[in-house]
């Protein structure tokens, strides 16, 4: 189970934040196929958002095949939802190594962020966010 957090100043719609956080948790392996997502009641009482917003987020996750609603029980991560990818561990390790080198070479955080963003924009052009 995960707990959602809504940042009201982010400018990102609340339902989209729920969708993003669920995907993020899936990528990090904090959520696995078959896990239950918090009930609508639980989400509204931890985040103070409208229940319809939660339903909208869960519908979106269902539409993308990442979650499935079970009537009267709740919403669960789809069995078919891709779990955290094993190759992602390898890639992350390589990235960590790169970061260490960047730091040793005296690149500051903002410079590294700008580099990463530039490469992201180059390689994921048109993928949206």
């Amino acid at each position: 189970m995960i707990e959602f957090r809504i940042d009201r100043r982010s400018g990102v719609a609340a339902y989209q934040q729920l969708v993003n956080q669920t995907k993020h948790a899936l990528r990090l392996g904090l959520l696995r196929p078959g896990d239950q997502l918090p009930t609508v009641k639980e989400v509204v009482t931890t985040t103070s958002i409208n229940p319809n917003t939660v339903l909208k987020a869960y519908r979106e996750l269902e539409r993308e095949g990442l979650a499935e609603g079970r009537r009267g029980v709740g919403t669960f991560v789809s069995v078919s939802a891709a779990p955290a990818q094993p190759e992602a561990d390898q890639l992350r390790a390589e990235l960590a190594g790169w970061m260490r080198r960047a730091r040793q070479d005296g690149l500051d955080r903002e410079y590294v962020e700008a580099l990463v963003k530039a490469e992201l924009d180059l390689h994921y052009e048109g993928d949206g966010r």
Binding site: R8, K41, V44, N50, P51
Partner: protein, 281 residues
């Protein structure tokens, strides 16, 4: 298709000293949480009192859950929690619940008791000794005890401390999640309603200034920041200038040349409220 919980056509309330409501035409969709926003004296309480049948309009029409208010006595499917949170101070919480059961046909006693238990209010305590937050939770339990389809809450958070505000709001949201009931919630603290309400009805001087789905309204407006030399787009609600810079809230899509941002609910509502104040002045 959305069904309509409440609709009004040219609803008007004329007092000896002026207008309470003036030619208000609006709809509240069922199953949603609607915000009723407006300055003091905008007509928020008048609107709720007319909807409950406590007061009769001068002209125009209103239907609540398909019924004309007051025509067949109090509407059983409607609950109203007034600003004064009417409870008998000398009663204990338990006695108050028993009174609720006697006074309300279709009372769900188990449900009302559960709401009080969830609020951690002792059943034996006298109403007069409760904190503001506890009193609101008891009043809420009594209003909800009849299992309404539509609940109207008039400034339920006024006079509560920040933690009590949050707890009351959570209690309301949890019941909406569970029952799918329709809520109309008035407040003049707009930040309390941000994210909570998905429909907006904004009143000023007894008139409807803005209404609709909150998300739609936010995407239909922009906060524009740029040089004051720039040409203003159509649909300007409010424009302010400081030095060489202009800040504009307008009903528009992105305008080239300006820095475009979607407004927050508070920015949107305040711009509309300020713009009506300037016209009146």
């Amino acid at each position: 298709m959305t069904t309509i919980a409440l609709d009004a056509t040219a609803l008007t309330m004329r007092y000896r000293r002026g207008w309470g409501l003036r030619d208000c035409t609006f709809e509240l969709p069922a199953g949603r949480i609607s915000a009723l926003i407006g300055p003091n004296g905008a007509g928020k309480s008048t609107l709720m009192r007319i909807a409950t049948g406590l007061q009769r309009q001068t002209s125009g029409e209103i239907r609540v859950l398909g019924q004309v208010p007051g025509k067949h006595g109090a509407n059983r499917r409607l609950a109203f929690l007034g600003q004064d949170k009417p409870l008998f101070k000398a009663f204990t919480v338990e006695e108050m619940l028993r009174a609720g059961a006697k006074l309300n046909p279709g009372w769900d006693d188990q449900y009302a008791q559960r709401l009080v238990r969830e609020a951690d209010v002792p059943f034996g305590a006298k109403i007069g000794t409760l904190s503001g937050g506890q009193r609101t939770r008891v009043a809420l339990a009594i209003a909800m005890g009849r299992r309404p389809e539509l609940v109207m809450l008039d400034e339920p958070l006024a006079d509560l401390d920040p933690i009590a505000r949050q707890e009351v709001m959570h209690a309301v949201l949890a019941e909406v999640a569970e029952t799918g009931m329709t809520v109309l919630l008035s407040s003049h603290v707009i930040a309390d309603l941000d994210g909570v309400c998905d429909h907006l009805l904004l009143l000023a001087d007894g008139q409807v200034r803005l209404q609709g789905d909150v998300e739609d309204l936010l995407t239909q407006h922009r906060v524009l920041v740029g040089s004051r030399e720039l040409v203003l787009p159509d649909g300007v609600v409010e424009a302010r200038t400081t030095g060489r810079q202009a800040t504009v809230l307008a009903r528009t899509s992105d305008v080239p040349g300006w820095d475009n941002n979607e407004p927050s609910l508070e920015e949107l509502a305040l711009a509309y409220l300020r713009s009506t104040r300037k016209v009146a002045a």
